[in-house]
Symmetry: C2
Subunit: 318 residues, 2 copies
């Protein structure tokens, strides 16, 4: 059994095409019905404003599966500690023996979440998408654009965040990271979205930020912020306005994602799943003017896929 | 963050009164409503005849909680490997940071399971119980008796197992382990149970082994084998014959334990919970002739309790 820390993992796993293919293969297997993926285990530690989630999945035929444990303790910043944390345990799918523990402190979650956004855009956004809007200015605001650039030639980013100082700092970071990238900071969501080919919402908001009036013709929206029962980023009008709605998994979107807008009732539109879209080999977008929406809540199969990918790189001396 | 292996853990955690009190305190907190205990996460790996369970719980006010991951791969013996395995991760309940990983390979599960049996007997069996019957001849058949001896002066053990060679081997091990202990091997469950003060069923049976006709007056029965939807050790008649029925948790007994006999319907008797019994300070047994039954399916609070106990011993230089 091997143990790896965050630095070792960061050295070999970044946002690249190989990592994207690994996560996409996980989603494809999910769409093909080749994945066992139990519901998320979630526990609140109320007195510390904390929670812990456990996700897992097994891709049939794979040699390994992973279990991810993600604590989120939201008073940690006042102690000088990060809110998010965690580790992944990689097991042999033949014997159940632990092959490795990846003490990634949430790094692989960041990566697989960003890659899921890129995979959604690959299959749903217009091929000629070059301008992206980001709502929020945190880690995922940065990683989602970095991942999106793997699949679309993004030259301009428009950003809105509740805190304008953070949006300005984000713009500086992004200009420094990506040579030639234009980054515009906006004071209103409306103006931030006006020219968008792709909109990505990356916030922990508990009330909808984006509504149908913000959507330009032909846009693709990825909402990746909502991952728990109390969070929501999209007004119901975004989804009823869209021509295509895709969830990473329907069940999780209903409990933790944007389908909560229908509170257990059937939404008045077809719900696609990202894995089925990939497995079918055919985008549900059938025109340049259509609006597509993808809701990402985070799935165990992404964790199993990225953990397996990380371990293969760690052990191959990559 | 510290890592400990099975040998290190075995050196400091055994079946003793301190460990029993730690697990009993966990059950008491559960009975007092001071525990957050989400449903078990369970995933099958069918092609390897395997499964993995994740259990957790948080005792409000405790500094630590644990998450336990238990793989069971039942073809492993043919590969020369144990079926059961696993580890416990101990987190700070203030920050969510990992304090330790206990690579106990299932040892702490064995211990906390045996202690739960002793706790059940402490609160439910007759004080003068001195003769115990064990159904099954595996690890728990041995540990349950060792733990029971912490709370009752057991001088005689009667054992029945499907495989008589294993029962004979068990008897030899037990005589060697406990000086002066009388161990009788039986060819029939009926004769094994005839003189019992306490009966403990410790098998992975998928059909009931024990029925009401096997129960002597005044006996206490602990059924600890059934911990999944397909297992059962007790015929429904055992529970309808009993004066008192106690589950470690009612919800788990209904899905994974002996209340499955009623298949989602309300059973025709009162269901007590072990934590409530402990918290109330009063045994539901009100007479020497009463028959009591306790169904143990294994709870997250036991894992959090034993992991916290183990880590405190490991770090105190005990």
């Amino acid at each position: 059994m091997k143990l790896y820390n965050r630095t070792q993992i960061q050295d070999v796993v970044q946002l690249d095409h190989d990592a994207l293919e690994a996560v996409e293969a996980g989603f494809r297997a999910l769409g093909e019905g080749q994945v066992v993926q139990p519901p998320i285990l979630s526990m609140a530690i109320e007195e510390s404003n904390g929670e812990v989630d456990v996700k897992t999945a097994h891709i049939r035929g794979n040699d390994r599966f992973a279990i991810k444990v993600s604590p989120g303790f939201f008073d940690n910043p006042s102690l000088g500690l990060p809110s998010l944390n965690g580790l992944m345990i990689v097991f042999s799918a033949r014997t159940g023996l632990v092959e490795a523990v990846l003490f990634d402190e949430g790094y692989l979650t960041d990566i697989r979440t960003a890659l899921a956004g890129a995979i959604a855009a690959k299959h749903l956004s217009r091929q000629d998408s070059c301008r992206a809007t980001v709502i929020g200015a945190g880690v995922q605001a940065e990683l989602q654009i970095a991942a999106l650039k793997l699949v679309r030639d993004i030259d301009t980013v428009d950003v809105w965040a509740r805190d304008t100082d953070r949006a300005n700092a984000y713009a500086e970071r992004m200009r420094a990271r990506f040579d030639g990238l234009t980054v515009n900071v906006h004071g209103e969501i409306d103006s931030a979205c006006r020219e968008a080919d792709v909109i990505i919402t990356t916030t922990p908001s508990k009330s909808p930020l984006l509504d149908a009036a913000h959507l330009p013709v032909g846009v693709h929206v990825t909402a990746m912020g909502s991952d728990s029962p109390e969070k929501r980023e999209l007004d119901a009008s975004v989804m009823t306005r869209a021509d295509v709605f895709v969830a990473d998994t329907r069940a999780q979107s209903e409990t933790n994602g944007e389908l909560k807008a229908w509170a257990g009732k059937a939404p008045p539109f077809e719900v696609h799943e990202l894995g089925h879209v990939i497995a079918s080999g055919q985008s549900p977008r059938t025109g340049q003017d259509q609006i597509t929406v993808c809701d990402l809540t985070g799935t165990g199969v992404q964790d199993t896929a990225i953990a397996g990918f990380a371990l293969s790189r760690l052990t191959s001396g990559h």
